[in-house]
């Protein structure tokens, strides 16, 4: 292990560039529309946050390595290689001011998938030592301890016991042959443990066979946030091993954005082989139960509710209809935000930004975009399905003196569960 070097970084850029990347760089006409799609630009008006600009070092490498004139120019010395100083300058652009939310990708008129390229560029940034310290720490903890927040199984076990007392029945752990393996995010375990109770009650009521794995409970993946595929693969492999060991039919990704992206979409490509099981988001499971008529609810929320689409689940993940189907079951006053569904705005904290203390101020500035949406809708409560979004939204609302509770969709469903099996276990 030689440690991070510029050479490793540039080498990673070179490896990562593929046909789509080359096509995107060839097509960019510098129209600047991606800037108006990015909340980091719209809330700061600083042109350096223009999404395509964040990729400039990667573009240079593409030009120098994979185009005729570029290769000629760099061979004869007319084009200088990317320097370490440049990568240092770009660190805050690639990490602090980008959550890989994917809005720029939706807007580019020539069809560039800028998010796709940011993910690739992070491989080189990390390999050359230009990842943010906060994120490096989280990644190291994720690999060595098993959780970016340093949560070990005993802490989870304590939450499980506590929950079992509340709900009155046991939560399955390490059950071989269960249908579903449930993973959790450290954020949920530590800050929103009600989620565990919620899914336990729903599965109990609907007769779903599930389990948690004591060896692989962490759903989040710092590897894809920092952008190091081999580390991301290590983290995914843990879940895969547990799923195979427990012979489950499917793995459930919890209310966490990038966890779904990691296990559902990147996972098989990281480990180099397809899964022998399915991967679903908790909202997909709940919606299937609803469609099958197994999930029954009672009563409706009368408060004015709106839904924040977590980027990695909705736009990047494809799970945007299910939350609305579920919300309609339990809400009589649901309104969409302006710019909703797959065009909803990021909360500002995904993609590793929340683990990056350096980005704190910028992250709060970016929140103003969500604030503007909320000002337009004026809801009584804000529903979402990602624990990281929840923290950011709560923080942002507090800083802006807005009194809007942020609630989890799964927990809301659980609150309205029409249960006959254990009526005494329902909270009042």
């Amino acid at each position: 292990m030689s440690g991070p070097t510029l050479a490793r970084g540039l080498n990673a850029f070179k490896e990562q560039i593929d046909a789509p990347t080359a096509s995107f760089f060839s097509s960019c006409v510098h129209c600047g529309m991606c800037a108006e799609a990015c909340l980091f630009f719209t809330e700061t008006r600083d042109p350096k946050y223009t999404p395509i600009y964040k990729l400039e070092p990667l573009r240079k490498v593409w030009w120098q390595e994979y185009t005729f004139w570029g290769k000629l120019a760099s061979t004869v010395g007319l084009s200088k290689p990317v320097t370490d100083a440049e990568l240092t300058e770009w660190e805050t652009l690639v990490y602090d001011s980008c959550t890989m939310c994917g809005r720029c990708t939706m807007v580019c008129p020539v069809g560039n998938d800028i998010t796709y390229m940011i993910r690739k560029m992070r491989e080189g940034m990390a390999a050359s030592g230009h990842a943010p310290p906060g994120l490096i720490g989280a990644t190291q903890r994720a690999v060595t301890i098993g959780s970016p927040m340093g949560v070990k199984y005993p802490a989870l076990e304590a939450q499980i016991r506590h929950t079992e007392e509340e709900i009155g029945f046991s939560i399955p752990v390490d059950v071989v042959g269960a249908d579903y393996l449930c993973t959790l995010s450290s954020m949920e375990i530590m800050n929103f443990p009600e989620y565990i109770g919620a899914i336990a009650r729903i599965f109990h009521e609907t007769g779903v066979s599930w389990t948690i794995s004591s060896e692989a409970f962490e759903a989040t993946n710092s590897g894809i946030q920092i952008g190091v595929s081999e580390i991301a693969a290590v983290l995914v492999e843990r879940i895969v091993k547990a799923a195979e060991k427990l012979k489950v039919k499917a793995v459930i990704s919890p209310e966490c954005g990038h966890a779904y992206m990691a296990i559902r979409w990147e996972g098989p490509n990281l480990i180099g082989r397809p899964y022998s099981f399915k991967v679903v988001h908790i909202l997909e499971v709940l919606d299937e139960l609803r469609k099958a008529g197994k999930l029954r609810t009672t009563g409706k929320e009368s408060r004015r509710l709106t839904y924040h689409d977590p980027c990695q689940i909705s736009r990047r993940g494809g799970v945007y209809e299910q939350p609305r189907n579920l919300l309609k079951m339990v809400a009589e006053n649901f309104v969409e935000m302006p710019d909703t569904g797959i065009m909803n705005w990021c909360c500002g904290a995904g993609g590793g930004v929340s683990a990056n203390e350096r980005a704190e101020v910028l992250k709060m500035k970016a929140f103003k975009r969500k604030k503007a949406q909320l000002d337009a809708v004026a809801p009584d409560a804000l529903v979402t399905a990602c624990a990281n979004c929840r923290i950011q939204l709560e923080e942002g609302l507090e800083e802006n003196h807005m009194d809007i509770p942020v609630i989890s969709l799964t927990e809301t469903i659980a609150e309205h569960l029409a249960g006959e099996t254990h009526p005494e276990a329902r909270p009042s």
Binding site: M1, S2, G3, P4, R8, N11, A12, K14, E15, I17, E65, Y66, F68, K71, A126, A127, G129, A131, P133, I136, T139, Q140, V143, T144, I226, V228, E230, I231
Partner: protein, 362 residues
Amino acid sequence: MKTDQTLGERLRQQGISRRGFLKFCAATASLLALPPGMVPVIAAALEKARRPSVIWLSFQECTGCTESLTRSDAASVEDLIFNTISLDYHHTLQAASGTGAEDARESAMKENWGKYVLVVDGSIPTANPGYSTIAGISNVDMLMEAAAGAAAIVAIGSCASFGGIPHARPNPTGAVSVSDLIKDKPIINVSGCPPIPVVITGVLTHFLTFGIPELDELHRPKAFYGKSIHDRCYRRPFYDKGLFAESFDDEGAKKGWCLYKLGCKGPTTYNACATTKWNQGTSFPIQSGHPCLGCSEPDFWDAGGFYHALSIPTGDTAQTVLYGAAAGVGAGVALGALYRAGKAHAVHQHEKVTINDLEKGG
């Protein structure tokens, strides 16, 4: 043919009434697009005009320009002109021949040295002076000598103005125009292959009355060469509507549609054909259904073909594209292979990144 009679005296002698004379002056004024107020000026000038000596030299020509000249309108007008100038030398029209003709020329030049009008038709060969001679004198020599004593030179026809047919590729005789050889005398180019009859006479009349008319950058009188055929063509509405004849006897041709697609050079040709027309205003090529050749422009013989529209590339583009595509595929595949090799090398060079490789200096 020499006389000291003024034109006015000569006309009265011939029984041309004042009225008839003024009618001619009015016709000339309108032909030159001059206001009616100019008619008395023309009349006064012509009245007093002493018949200037005109020497007409024919070099490498087909005699078409002379033929055109003699077709100019009603005979009486031409009579006027030929009685108003002293045409002291003209191969086709003169009665004399041999040494008699050459003596006439030489004495006319000597007597009117510095004052005679030199008219030239045909190009001048320079590759070998022997290609065209008159009485053993090469065209070049005769031109240089005659030009030296001329007050002005009128180059009639595209050959004299620009080199014309002999000048067309590969120009075996080294044909050049009058302007190519004479640099120190005023030259009026009356181009066309041939020029329109009344244009020839109109220019001469203007010159006699007012001197050299306003000329364009090719030294052609703007009165006749100031507008393009395209700008005065009666078929222009069809061009603007995009209605073109595709072949010589199709529906469009029969309906009189624009001939642009059949190679009409109207847009880049400057002449009076569309307004003045030919044969006393009977018709002109486009009206007869044939695209304009552009015969009053330089190098019209080498302008890419009479039946190819102006804007068309002249090479075999289909073939170029085919060869280019083949070359492109070859180059692209080669470069692609090079890039893939480079990428494979980078993949090969990849050292697995662990958590210990993330922090600089640690």
